[in-house]
Amino acid sequence: MAVRSEALAPSWREGRVTGWLTTVDHKRIGILYIVTSFFFFFAAGVMALLMRLQLAQAGNDIITRNDYNQLFTIHGTAMIFLFVVPILAGFGNYLVPLMIGARDMAFPRLNAMSYWLFLLGGLVILGSFLVDGGAASSGWTAYTPLSTEEFSPGTGQDLWILGLHLTSLSSLAGAINFLVTIHNMRTAGMTWMRIPLFVWAMEAFSVLLLLVLPTISAAVTLLLLDRQAGTSFFTGENGAVLWQHMFWFFGHPEVYIMVLPAMGILSEVIPVFSRKPIFGYKAVAFSTIGIAFASMLVWAHHMFTVGMPDALQAWFMITSFSVAVPTAIKIFNWLATLWRGHLWFRAPLLFCLGFIGLFTMGGLSGVMLAVFPVDYQTHDTYYVVAHFHYVLFGGSVFGIFAGIYFWFPKMTGRMYDERLGVAHFWLMFIGFNAAFLPQHMLGLMGMQRRIYTYDREGLFEWYNLVSSLGALLMGIAILVFIWNMTKSWRSGTRVGNDPWGADTLEWYATSPPAPHNFDRVPYVSSSRPLRDLRERLRERGA
């Protein structure tokens, strides 16, 4: 082996730093993705804390109105484009080849390029705070004509467009890479009905990215032309609504791009910690595809107040409902997987249970928002802010933390500190609900989104204060998490290949896996090859 790896990589690439900078190994790229996007998560989280500081009391004057508008614009942009999507791509990079028994991704160099484009895009977006006039301040949705040259003259908006182009390019290349890998590099016996459900999720993730990213790339390109070349795609008649159609045709599937892989993580973790197979593998796999398909039909439910005909509003309400069905199927299948299991309450399972509880809330408030007459009142209020944080934080981010704790031993060869992990969960769970539950009420009481100040006192102000304190608690939870990770990565207890008694192939490799992943891959005869292997060993021993 040593001779071959020497031929593959010259020795100067093996330095502690250069090894990481020049790597084309999917596992290292995966870790780079995860660590980098976590830094962006931290930055965007600090922005959220600053906003909650400003909103903690009526009439606060801590953050200026210009700064506030930049903060919420970059907070949203960074959380979506620089944290949730790339960290899931990081999991995909690390796990997909291992889970299907492959040596690496199909295109390792393209894979490295995806990561470096993502990093560059992230630096452009965050760096835009430093330019004259500051970062973009027209919201992550960049509605026209507000985001056009006339109303947003600064360089910040142009850098925002450039940053989106870079991250979109990164995601497109990544999506192609995932699809080619999943379709062509599955090991012997790994049929479509045997691939891990996380791989199904990455398949749907990649297909959705390929289908909708071109739309946002086109939209921001046209916006750039409007701003810099004097065209009027979005400034003329109907231009404002055209932007919203193009943006949300991408923007709504983007939600599922961020949720489906997190759901895939749940479908891996829950069976392991219940000591049961997933209930209804096919239903979970097909509901993944069902959600992906339906998610492309619902975009204009973000636009019920732009003056669409009732028939069109009714159509988009019904299509939105149609996403709720496969989503409900998943929730029920996870509950049925828990049923009669031997639930092992380690941090990964806690975060999965948190996901189920919180995502249910976000899903149901989503049904309420899809009812277009109700949306006339709740649209663009804190009710919507609460809703999508229950979906994307209570859902995706809890799923991401479940994944980090679950695969930490595989990636580092060491176990994390369980007590800190449990503390992280409870701080986060309580802080999250304190932060976002009152925002439903605030929305109904008339608090519109994206305001840097308000003058109402009494209950209105109290809810805002509770929300800010909850955000602070979440910040503390993240510090506990960082402490846990840094400490455990250096000095956690060493673990073997399979500390959880898990079912899928990545646990057959060493922890951390060798650069070439596997010496041999066992023949796969079910969706749980490792459990099959344990059974065979037990039979042989008996």
Binding site: E150, G307, F321, G341, L343, M368
Partner: protein
Amino acid sequence: MGRTIVAIAAAAVALALAALPIVLALVSPGGLGGLAPPDQASPSGQAINELYWFVFGICAVVFVAVETALILFILRFRRRPTTPADAEGPQIHGNTRLEIIWTVVPSVILAVIAVVVLVRTPAVHATGGDRSDELVVRVEGHQFYWRYVYPDGQISLDTLVLPVDRPVKLELVSYDVNHSWWVHELTGKQDAIPGQVNELLLRPTVEGTYEGDCAEFCGVLHAVMPTTVEVVSREEYASRIEQLSGQDQAGDAQLALGRESWERTCAKCHGAAGEGDLGPPIARNGTLVDADALTALLNEGLDTPGVEGYMPPVGRGWPAFQVEALIEYVRSNEDLAPPEQDGGSG
């Protein structure tokens, strides 16, 4: 074992904490602490509220059912200290009949919601009352104020006066960016979008003063772009409109429109006495009384290189008499009027 107890206790604490706002909301007076949408002073607003409660009721039942199952399973199926480490649960791979049931049941529930919503949609857009008596008011969203134009051309800024019990059609337009007109105790919101006219129908049924906001992010002062709707008796409406300035009026009515234009438009960025705030100081600036220069500025805005921010085209769509009214007001105001201009009275 201690761990399990700790976990259960922690779960109970967390649930109690999560439930606390709901309990608080239920016992606190008035709007159920925000859990209930506020009472509506129009039939369409009430129709929206009825739909809210209908869908909320169904979602609440589903929510309680799912969360109860989750908590029961967590308590009932937790791994006991006596459970061997390699013990497995029953290896159930699925149950087709069960899965069909939990696919069909949500579909049916959602179909029922959809049917009810579609049946009730006409009520959401209905005003009731005599439509031939309809009052049409043009609502312009501007950075960062609302401009109302009544049928005979009278103008008011930020404050809209409506007669009680008369059907109203608001025609929403914008000359700059997207805005959204939202008076949440009257009815739902509707966007004001450049290049199109959106309609919002309502019939206010209760006299009173209603506070509203811009709901669509529209720029730096989006948070402080309030509006007030005063619903008054028909007689009072007539006399209030009488006082507002339109095309042919001069004197006090003209000065009042000028003052309103200054306070609602210029002063929001340049300060009440033009001393400068978000925008630079403009008190005693000659442009304020130069009709041509002022009209150009109000229509085009200004992006001065090197100065942070920009001036939006705040007066796009103003008729000439509103610009004149503003100039007259500036001339009449000692703090604002530029010195020794021809015809200057300050």
